[in-house]
């Protein structure tokens, strides 16, 4: 019995790992244009952020606006480690994951007993508190920011940007496989019940507080891990840009637009929106770019709340009914 479910989950992890590795080898061998890896890093980063956000927001129904509290903290965690010792980036990602996971746990413990609305507002508060703490912390540069030197090459991986891209691709694999495993498991059913009706879920035996804490911890940890390589990518890190609200809007918009009910939605949303933005930033101003994201978010929430997945599903259902 246990073996059956674990087998199926294990199979997805294995298959998706192979896909990820193939994708990695293919892109690195075939693509010479360096810019591709710069852009792809950002898109993959959003795949992780959107997937992580969706574990809490889509599956459990608790909206997190304070992505900065996890993502930027993850980045600054790396800064601290970078200044203290020379630590390989994967280790930084692990540390960032742990730190952000603890923040998620703590924040959840403080606010998850309240209505979802208060939780959302509290996440915003957490982000501002985190930002204020970092702005006033000179060791990591404070409001002036900090310069990080990006090495030219990484051991075994060659070009450093391709190395970061590879790490982010692997992290995307972890995030996606985790999300899918949750979806098909008892945990996912519990999350779903909480989202649909928390009081009924509690009455049905679901330990709602514990599950919500798991969601916030996991979601926070993944976001933190996504932020860990950021200092090496941008080479100049400051609170204003790392806590930028654009990360928050994108992390919300991508799952909403892609569809929140399945792991595929955030991936679709991230790839679609992320790619469009990467292309658009070159041609139009970044402010206009963000305006479009915001308008798309509003539009989808009103017209197509189940996102692209929802649209496809209802078209399929309509066709099936005919």
């Amino acid at each position: 019995m246990i073996g059956d479910a674990a087998f199926r989950a294990g199979r997805f992890w294995a298959v998706s790992f192979v896909v990820a590795v193939l994708l990695l080898l293919l892109t690195r061998a075939a693509i010479q244009n360096e810019y591709f890896f710069f852009a792809a890093y950002v898109v993959l980063q959003y795949v992780v952020l959107a997937t992580a956000w969706n574990i809490l927001g889509g599956y459990t129904g608790y909206i997190n606006f304070g992505i900065g509290a996890f993502f930027a903290v993850g980045a600054y965690c790396s800064v601290v480690l970078h200044k203290l010792a020379s630590v390989p980036v994967p280790v930084m990602m692990l540390a960032a994951g742990i730190a952000s996971g603890i923040i998620g746990l703590g924040m959840g413990y403080l606010t998850l007993r309240l209505r979802g609305v208060f939780f959302a507002i509290a996440t915003l508060a957490m982000a501002i508190v985190a930002q204020t703490l970092i702005v006033n912390w000179d060791f990591v540069g404070g409001s002036r920011g900090i310069y990080i030197i990006r090495p030219q090459h990484a051991p075994f991986f060659g070009d450093y940007v391709e190395y970061l891209y590879s790490l982010m691709l692997l992290l995307s694999w972890i995030a996606i496989a985790t999300a899918r495993t949750i979806e098909r498991s008892r945990l996912g059913l519990g999350f779903n019940a909480i989202r649909d009706d928390e009081a009924a879920a509690e009455a049905a035996g679901v330990p709602t507080l514990r599950l919500k804490l798991i969601a916030t911890t996991l979601s926070g940890a993944l976001m933190g891990m996504a932020g860990a390589p950021l200092p090496y990518y941008v080479t100049y890190l400051d609170p204003a840009s790392s806590f930028s609200l654009s990360y928050a809007v994108n992390s919300v918009a991508m799952p909403v637009i892609g569809g929140m009910t399945s792991w595929i939605g955030p991936v679709i949303g991230a790839v679609l929106l992320g790619t469009i933005q990467q292309v658009a930033t070159v041609t139009i101003s970044s402010a206009l770019n963000l305006l479009i994201v915001g308008l798309l978010l509003i539009g989808f929430v009103i017209v197509a709340p189940n996102g692209i997945i929802g649209l496809i599903q209802s078209r399929r259902r309509a066709r099936g009914a005919r």
């Binding site: 019995m1 059956d4 479910a5 008892r186 059913l189 519990g190 779903n192 019940a193 989202r195 649909d196 009706d197 009081a199 009924a200 879920a201 509690e202 009455a203 049905a204 035996g205 679901v206 330990p207 709602t208 507080l209 009910t261």
Partner: protein, 247 residues
């Protein structure tokens, strides 16, 4: 003098919201196997009492014991695991889950969380189908709750409560707004469940159903228990008459 065989004992349970006293010193023993009717005018505290006993609300004072265990401070999901179940006044189905999946939630989280044999994946699915068949919803088990009629929703609500394999079930106004024949359907389900060994507390306004169903009647008025005994006796109590015929 407390009956030692009481399944659930409420001892001086009180609950207030700000200045408003919803429950005042409720003493109640629920005996195993009985069919207890809980009635009272609107706002008398019936649902509040159920919420306090089931853990949805925290009572302010008093003690609640279930099968010898103190329930005070235990969250609702743990009380469910101990064997308390309730259906909600306004049905609260899991809207995005099929009927079968609605039942899988308590099966996986209440039944499988108890020490002892855990149901396998196949056994869970079979049990869910069985429970739905018991209330006549077998053919709709892959549908979503929004496709159900009123009475079917009530049945789903009851089926979900029963899925957690309770010893005690609170049926909170499970028949409100139903036609007489639909009321009979629900009553039949409740009788069947009781015959199968589940103690049932029926909170209801439909007097005919309550009198028909209950072996004992408890009457709440303005947060206090004013009658507790055989149905005919309780109804003849002058205070109860006054509460229902108006003052």
């Amino acid at each position: 003098m407390r009956a030692p065989a009481a399944l659930l004992s409420a001892d001086g349970v009180s609950k207030h919201f700000g200045g408003f006293v919803a429950l005042e010193g409720i003493d109640l023993d629920i005996l195993p196997g009985e069919r207890l009717g809980l009635i009272g005018p609107n706002g008398s505290g019936k649902s509040t009492l159920v919420n306090c006993l089931c853990g949805t609300l925290r009572h302010d004072s008093g003690m609640i014991t279930f099968a010898g265990r103190k329930l005070d401070g235990l969250p609702a999901h743990q009380r469910t695991r101990l064997g308390l179940a309730r259906s909600f006044q306004l049905p609260k189905p899991f809207r995005s889950l099929s009927l079968a999946d609605n039942l899988r939630v308590p099966l996986l989280y209440a039944v499988n969380a108890r020490p002892g044999a855990r149901l396998s994946r196949a056994a869970v699915a079979a049990r869910a189908a069985e429970l739905l068949a018991d209330v006549g919803l077998a053919d709709k088990r892959h549908r979503l709750p929004r496709e159900l009629t009123q009475v079917e929703m009530r049945k789903l609500e009851l089926a979900r409560a029963v899925a957690s394999a309770p010893r005690l079930l609170f049926a909170d106004e499970a028949m409100a707004g139903l036609s007489p024949s639909e009321v009979e359907e629900i009553l039949a389900v409740l009788f069947r469940l009781n015959a199968g060994g589940i103690t049932i507390v029926l909170i209801e306004h439909i007097m005919r159903a309550v009198m028909n169903f209950s072996t004992r009647l408890v009457v709440l008025v303005a947060g206090r228990k004013i009658a507790d005994g055989a149905p005919e006796e309780a109804m003849r109590n002058p205070e109860v008459e006054r509460a229902y015929l108006g003052e």
